[in-house]
């Protein structure tokens, strides 16, 4: 089944689900399916159990951090400057809000096919970072979702044991985020070099 067929069947069979195809610019041509985060679990169960798909093997679960982006747009408008109407260039800055993303690579061992790439976004990077956990569907996501929680801060609802996996329990930062800053005194030698006049 092509990705377009999967998308239309999903939208037909899972009520309320909104799926769109994200085109991949690289020569690998691995396009992915972006699912809205409220229907992740139902989508996963459909993909795993449908007799024509049988995507029974979830190979890879990746989290990606997309920080807030600023886009500048220059538009030409006519304005009155010093009493004369002139064409002026105005720059407009818009902030595109960032989000955290989880990417699932699914394969079918029964039919020896794949990959089908599934994506889900959180609402934002700050307070609403919850997604549905797909561990009840594919147990291979268990440790990988814990790692996404540990290093990125995505909270997976429905995960049987969501706690930090690679860093220790009292650690408070999410180190793989793009805006993570390591503690200041960690590298004393660099401090010596960067201080002016040292």
């Amino acid at each position: 089944m092509t990705l377009e067929e999967i998308r239309s069947r999903l939208e037909a069979f899972v009520p309320g689900c909104h799926a769109e195809i994200v085109v991949n610019g690289s020569p690998s041509a691995q396009n992915s399916l972006l699912i809205d985060r409220r229907h992740g679990l139902q989508t996963a169960m459909y993909l795993r159990d449908h007799p024509e798909l049988q995507l029974d093997f979830c190979s890879n679960v990746t989290a990606v951090d997309w920080p807030d982006r600023e886009e500048t747009e220059t538009i030409k408008t006519r304005k009155i400057v010093d009493g004369v109407e002139k064409e002026v260039e105005e720059t407009k800055k818009t902030t595109i809000p960032g989000y955290l993303e989880v990417v699932y690579h699914l394969f079918s061992i029964a039919k020896k096919e794949g990959p089908v790439v599934l994506r889900m976004h959180t609402a934002n990077r700050t307070d609403d970072v919850t997604l549905q956990s797909l561990t009840p569907v594919w147990r291979s996501a268990e440790f990988q979702e814990r790692e996404a929680f540990d290093l990125f801060g995505i909270v997976f609802e429905g995960h049987p044991d969501l706690r930090r996996i690679l860093m220790w329990e009292g650690f408070t930062d999410h180190p793989m985020r793009k805006d993570y800053v390591p503690p200041p005194d960690d590298d004393l030698e660099l401090l010596a070099v960067s201080k002016p006049g040292a």
């Binding site: 329990e169 180190p175 993570y180």
Partner: protein, 204 residues
């Protein structure tokens, strides 16, 4: 005693030595390492004990799993901040005289992973290190060379006088404080009594 006299006597079957030499000879030829492999260097350490490079010839026949029975800790591999308290704890549990070989670039200074948020930039931030072997990973011959350097260091130690080693001086500590897990890293970040901070060295 004069070396020529010793050689002359030994030709007649008389073996002359000092207590210090005998003591150090016994110690250096029976150093038992702790089974302490952290990462890739551990595989080269295992290869050193295998049939081709055979570390057992030098007296390191048995690698003891328990720190209470080991003399030498070969820190082979990257020490991460999560592992660092365990390393210091194991070092504290070893009885004196104890030695540390920092094997590989990661144990010396963090190595290729130095930029990592979870990587401790060298185990000498918390415990004293006797021999450093550079390499990534060092060849088994380099580990044997480090072992022989350690043996030379042991045989050069004096039993009396100011320059006697740490295990014979009552006032020097043999256990070092174990770092705690903080919210952003380890606390304290280094042990200033042990760590030869390059910043302080530069400032004089």
């Amino acid at each position: 005693m004069d070396q020529d006299l010793k050689t002359e006597l030994s030709k007649h079957g008389i073996f002359a030595t000092s207590f210090e030499e005998l003591y150090n000879w016994g110690r250096k030829n029976s150093v038992w390492p702790l089974t302490f492999g952290l990462a890739c260097c551990a595989i080269e350490m295992i290869a050193t004990t295998m049939a081709r490079y055979d570390l057992a010839r030098f007296g390191a026949e048995v690698f003891r799993p328990s720190p209470r029975q080991a003399d030498l800790m070969i820190v082979s591999g990257t020490v991460t901040k999560k592992m660092a308290p365990q390393v210091v704890r194991l070092y504290n549990q070893m009885p004196e005289p104890k030695y540390v070989i920092a094997m590989g670039a990661c144990a010396i200074s963090g190595g290729p992973f130095r930029d990592g948020y979870n990587v401790l930039k060298g185990i000498d931030r918390y415990i004293p290190v006797d021999v450093h072997i550079p390499g990534c990973p060092p060849r088994p011959e380099a580990l044997i060379h480090a072992f022989m350097t350690l043996q030379d260091k042991i045989s050069a130690q004096h039993l009396t006088g100011e320059s006697r080693p740490r295990h014979l001086k009552q006032d020097l500590p043999s256990e070092f404080p174990v770092p705690e897990f903080g919210e952003h890293g380890l606390e304290p970040q280094q042990n200033d009594e042990v760590f030869r901070n390059p910043l302080k060295v530069l400032q004089g």
